[in-house]
Symmetry: C2
Subunit: 469 residues, 2 copies
């Protein structure tokens, strides 16, 4: 699209009157936070999503209910349009509750807490029992060699690094064990895999999450489960005392053919640049053990709340603002990919995307994927955010679902809440509504709304450079 002269003048005046705008912006942010904290809807929506619907794994009945529910919510807040975007998603089911024990001597069994990893095959009927070989990671397999691994269960036990302040870094340093551990161990003849849960805390809850066999032939795929951190420590100690002990586990997970699902999309049409899109979203699917309140029910309801707050404050955005509930982030990213594909097919010009998928904890700021000029512009708003204790504006990824939208000049951002407790709940049975604090959730929604407001008001700097052409 081309900018009119009037637009150009407006933009120039806007930047000339920066002092004045700062006061207006400060007032707008105050209203956004006030509304979110005193009259917010996100917490009630999360209650519905978590307690009335529950865990929403792709392809499940709950996921379909969540699609209909969030569509209804979007319709209820008076957006200009709301629609479903079809997308085929994988369907994996956990089956009956997993069962596992450590056999320290024939007949002497000690129950431990496990869960199947998402995407894992089942164990043979009746379960799988084998000796265990403990490793600190995939890179340790080669040194052991096929001889010491063949016929055994590989136990990946590298813990998350406690001294990293950003817990997502600690996660990043471990998750290869979960995601690729089975595929790699199978190459050495292992018959199964058990992975220490990605949890910084010592407790009894196993944490699931996606794993992949990649192009490993179906006949060579081995079952994989996660074990709680307490039981991982127990298993490790037991192995040291009794290197020949057996580990048993039984799981009945299945993969079904892909099923049709949807991204849920709502839009407020832009008053000035209706064909430039700013997106805010989270993923609607979740793992099945808890109810997915932090991952990512929180991001979903916060994203809808952004548009509700803007409407509630009678703000008319210049750009078209879309909220997207992405389907299937957890085990396929089909929704995120689909949204980006269609955007490209339809030649939709996305200038900014914001994702919330790091939990509903107290917001600290944003990680920002942008060029230096856009980053500098966002950082220039630091003082506007200071009263709300928002201080983090650092380069980094925006998020998995908006990643496929990325193109030159576009700005991606991810909400960064306090991350210290996130992995206590992540993908586990305790990712539940009671673990989300109302105010913290609302502060996140207000922080996201504020960034959308500022991005809409000032545009991306690529829009400015567009003018020069």
């Amino acid at each position: 699209m081309k900018y009119t002269k009037l637009t150009l003048v407006t933009l120039l005046l806007t930047s000339m009157m920066f002092g004045q705008n700062t006061t207006q912006d400060a007032e707008m942010l105050r209203q956004i936070y006030d509304q979110a904290l005193t009259n917010g809807k996100a917490y009630q929506w999360l209650d519905d999503l978590s307690n009335d619907i529950g865990g929403r794994l792709s392809g499940s009945l709950e996921a379909e209910r969540a699609v209909l529910y969030t569509k209804e919510v979007m319709e209820s807040i008076g957006l200009d349009s709301v629609w479903l975007q079809p997308v085929m998603v994988p369907k994996w089911t956990r089956g009956i509750p997993e069962y596992s024990y450590i056999e320290t001597a024939p007949g002497i069994t000690n129950l431990v807490n496990i869960c199947a990893l998402g995407g894992s095959v089942a164990t043979p009927h009746g379960g799988l029992k084998a000796e265990v070989v403990e490793v600190s990671g995939i890179e340790a397999l080669a040194a052991l060699g096929r001889e010491k691994i063949k016929g055994k269960i590989v136990f990946y036990n590298r813990p998350m690094q406690a001294n990293l302040i950003h817990t997502f870094e600690a996660y990043g340093g471990c998750v290869d064990q979960r995601y690729s551990g089975a595929k790699e161990a199978a190459k050495y003849g292992a018959v199964g895999v058990v992975v220490r849960s990605m949890n910084l805390r010592l407790d009894d809850l196993p944490h699931t999450g996606a794993m992949s066999y990649d192009d490993l032939p179906v006949s060579e795929r081995i079952p994989a489960c996660a074990i709680s951190t307490n039981d991982a420590n127990y298993l490790s100690t037991a192995i040291k005392l009794m290197p020949k002990l057996n580990f048993y586990f039984n799981q009945t997970c299945r993969v079904f053919p892909d099923v049709k699902s949807y991204n849920v999309i709502g839009e407020i049409k832009g008053s000035e640049f209706p064909n430039q899109y700013m997106v805010v979203g989270g993923h609607l699917d979740s793992w099945d053990l808890g109810d997915g309140s932090h991952d990512d029910g929180a991001g979903c309801v916060q994203s809808i709340e952004v548009l509700r707050l803007l409407k509630n404050l009678d703000f008319k955005p210049r750009h078209s603002i879309r909220v997207v509930m992405f389907m299937n982030e957890e085990n396929g990213l089909r929704g995120g990919n689909k949204y980006a594909e269609e955007a490209q097919l339809k030649n939709e010009n996305h200038v900014f995307a914001l994702e919330s998928d790091s939990g509903g904890f107290t917001p600290r700021g944003f990680s920002i994927d942008a060029d230096a000029t856009n980053l500098a512009q966002i950082r220039s708003w630091n003082d506007l955010f200071k009263p709300y204790l928002i201080h983090y504006f650092e380069p980094g990824g925006g998020g998995a679902d908006i990643g496929p939208l990325k193109k030159d000049g576009m700005v991606l951002a991810g909400l960064r809440p306090d991350s210290q407790r996130y992995f206590d709940h992540h993908h586990a049975a305790n990712d539940t509504f009671d673990a989300v604090n109302k105010r913290e959730l609302e502060l996140g929604a207000a922080t996201m709304t504020s960034l959308i407001y500022l991005m809409d008001t000032y545009g991306t700097t690529s829009e400015m450079s567009h003018i020069k052409n």
Copy 2:
């Protein structure tokens, strides 16, 4: 004391070599945080204090056990000296569980959750039943006048303001109802007081806390209780429907004569300025409904952890560093006052004091009570703290217990953790160990240790001005 020329040269060199020191300081902070997060002791100590001892109201057996326990812990970490500082404290007991109902019609009673306020007198034997008059605060009493209040129970129902980001401000805007509500209502002939709990959340837990009759004659003192936020809303709605309803409550609290208790003090003697003291502390007493994990078990164990970390890292402080477990912050401040009195009597030169009494949540920074030069010095360390997401260095009070130490040129600081969830737990039955996250507690301890390290290394600027004299 006088500074030697050598000291002066050292100090000047220190400031000249600021670049080099920054690297050394950054390395020291890295070690402090690493140790706290991977090898910390605070969480285990808090477990002991909370789960083995429990709520520690001044004058209780639990408070005495906590004195002995923390003394033992201090002795176990090899401080240069550990001692008890005697102090007389008030002894108030709650008595049998409180009981309360709303009587909407004769014989139709609806139970509600209350607790006696700390310091309240008992109800008459068998309880107290009277009509209720709801007010939004003490200032509303005068408008109503004696006629409408006499013989009634005054119900203070002004909620905490949800749109304040700093929840302690919201607390400050309400707590007069709890602290002085009974005294003021009694002047108008009220027979009892019920106060909306100081809680930003809607739930069923009543929150206790200190109240005072000041110089009101004993015969005129009326009983006061707190009611949960849910039940406050219920009572308020019921009154609107049935203005003549009765409120009943029964509580058997008692005041006993003062008893002897102690501040617990440990010290590492300073290598260079042994007669200049830097203090770090929290209060050992707590309310009796929960186990006082956030208020202020967390601050206690963090403070001891500061000295353990310094010793563990083989850091020899230039100043004498003291850790103090203050007794009786909650209902008397006798410990804080006693410590300051003795410091003055003994002419001990306290140059810096740090308090942690805002919960064991993720630390955000410090509120600082200092002159402009000292504040600027602390703010110059901002970049050192940035990797740990510590960003808040704002003027404000240090804390109740260290307040009495304040004198010109001295620096006071209070740890400022995330405050969003603090009042969900404050003074209520759910201020318990499970509500404290290990990493968040440890990050707080590391942040406090880092500030003590930097203050010890660079001194206060009043030490510098001292040189000029």
